[in-house]
Symmetry: C2
Subunit: 382 residues, 2 copies
């Protein structure tokens, strides 16, 4: 059998065989008892994953659909929502607010930087009647994590605004205690740090958020109130993507077996190993050190190197798939997804393929320097 | 190995092993060449399935989400849409129009009956500036098919209204030549007559519809204009449910191998065999003969029989799962999904289990009468 490609794009990520096999369970009726049993297990494990005692729901949509669910259950025409924009996916959050007729109060930042609590505070104090603060926790297009997230949660709470967090490319791979950090609505996707196939979004809703949601003119398919009603009998309002729910059930069991703290630590050391390799190869990281993500690694493409050609070599000769940039950084950066079943083996294989791709493109580097730096990180981490 | 349950609910339906196995292909990047190849194949086969030369798209949502996509890309606040309501799912179509702020011009009918072209014609002529006529082709809650669909298409065309068809529980199981019948937007789900797992909706859009869609204030995740833009490079705007796209690809190949006409014929004879059995057992069908569906069989529960208990016996002792009613008919009827990989074997097994469930509930019937009637239909059909 041919060796599989190693998928190191920022989602979808590699899926463990155990999770893949779960999809093969025979079809069931989503209104029957078998489904209700799985629903109960999944909901319980989602509460563990989100670290919340609030409500959690499974949506049959991509991560983007999940974020639209959050926005459209809270924002009515004319409502003010503060939204920092610092890359393609935070721009999308803003766009969703606007499509709902909301007033997006944008904090515009350079791509590669992270919004800070102080900026949010100033904006919230300048504006009257802010209904929500919507923050993308991990900007997939630039490899930036918003490390001030807990402080921003406090600001939202103190100003009686809802705190909406898009955590699509980070939940399950880095700290995000939803209740402790005052997050009212949190969204993630199945195909990132959960190491599940794409097609589901997961969402949590706080007690505080329900008051607002109930008063919002909501869409039909993504109506949270309907979801809450059906969840009482452990069902979804509409037919869910059953094989993906089987897969999610298994993926969540694996997360519980590993325990969250260990999983976060594993993602952190793998991310740091990538950054060590990047430095050892004299490559430039896109974000500043304090803003860089443990789950999406963004590095600048050296000037005389062809972005697509480096990736073509990595894929064709080494079966390692990484991504170029997105949006206006399309050609400027490489992005590596370091999520899900990531470990030393995947990091080393990726760095090794990257070195080869760069060398073939005429970039001057000491062969093996990246691998060595990454390996050292894992050895010292023991 | 334990024998699998035979899933005879009106969706999800049984999935062939060949389609299940397709989900196990290793994960791929949805922005890579492998995905684009599959996208091209799927789009071509969807055009065959819908019998259209218009555009077709794959959505990661349930059928309900697909219908909301159709409505919300066409209806702006205040727009008039004619919608016949004759069961739970046509009620949902109306609800979606209202949630968009549209003016739903309802033609209200008894559950179990079908709207007729003449009723639509009268309504359209009474109202000024009707923007669209939205018809549910097959009412899953009552087993009714709208046989006047082609005439209604002509009425929409003659009155310059868009014709939106919810074909979730019928496309691929009965006649629906989208272009020939003047359907502007047609929606189906993966988990019904296509014999694919749930989680995807499929939608077609006519040239005429695009003019309206472009002028509509559209949602973000379900924006058809974005889908058209990304389809030019054979991609979806957002991460699709990749294993389900693999499954759909395989399911569509099976449909092409069988050919549509043969598939429709197979569904028709299986539906008729069910109705023959129902008559032979002295059970009552919910719809009139001319309105009855080939894909969802609705029969009235005899007065002295316990609905849930009949179904419990069928499932526990015979591993056959059928549905009760939905909405206000919850306890009143049984519903059998006769979709996808249905053949004489599944019909006989279902009728046999139903006979047993009824006998155990004290209902007087000549054992084997239903089976015999169904068998005869298949023999005479040869």
């Amino acid at each position: 059998m041919e060796e599989r490609n190693l998928i190191m794009v920022p989602g979808p990520t590699n899926v463990p065989d155990r999770v893949m096999r779960a999809m093969m369970k025979p079809m069931i009726d989503h209104r029957g008892s078998e489904f209700r049993t799985i629903y109960r297990d999944v909901a319980e494990n989602l509460r563990y994953l989100f670290q919340t005692e609030g409500d959690v729901f499974i949506l049959t949509v991509s991560g983007t659909g999940g974020v639209e669910c959050a926005i459209s259950n809270v924002v009515n025409p004319g409502d003010k929502v503060i939204v920092p924009v610092f890359g393609l996916f935070s721009e999308r959050v803003k766009e969703k607010i606007i499509r709902r007729g909301g007033e997006a109060i944008e904090i515009s930042l350079d791509w590669g930087t992270a919004p800070k609590a102080e900026q949010i505070k100033q904006t919230v104090e300048k504006e009257d009647g802010v209904k929500a603060i919507a923050v993308l926790y991990n900007e997939t297009s630039t490899g930036v994590t918003v490390r001030d997230l807990p402080e921003i949660g406090k600001i939202a709470k103190d100003n009686d605004a809802l705190f909406i967090v898009d955590a699509v490319s980070i939940l399950g791979g880095d700290q995000l205690p939803v209740d402790k950090w005052d997050v009212d609505i949190c969204v993630t996707g199945s195909q990132k740090c959960l190491a599940c196939p794409p097609g589901l979004a997961l969402i949590s809703v706080s007690e505080k958020a329900w008051e607002t949601v109930e008063k919002t003119s909501r869409p039909f398919y993504l109506d949270l109130v309907q979801m809450r009603k059906f969840s009482e009998r452990h069902e979804t309002p509409f037919t869910p993507a059953i094989p993906l729910v089987f897969a999610l059930d298994e993926a969540l069991k694996m997360i519980r077996e590993e325990r969250l703290e260990k999983r976060f630590e594993r993602h952190k050391i793998c991310g740091e190993a990538f950054y060590d390799a990047v430095e050892a190869l004299n490559l430039m990281q896109l974000p500043k050190k304090e803003d860089r993500s443990h789950t999406v690694i963004a590095l600048k493409k050296p000037p005389d190197v062809n972005n697509a050609d480096v990736r073509r070599i990595m894929k064709e000769r080494y079966k390692v798939v990484i991504a170029g940039g997105a949006g206006k950084l399309r050609d400027e950066i490489f992005r590596i997804g370091s999520m899900g079943i990531i470990s030393e083996a995947e990091v080393i294989r990726t760095v090794s393929a990257l070195e080869a791709g760069l060398i073939e493109n005429g970039f001057q580097l000491r062969a093996g320097a990246g691998i060595e730096a990454a390996r050292r990180r894992f050895s010292s981490g023991r």
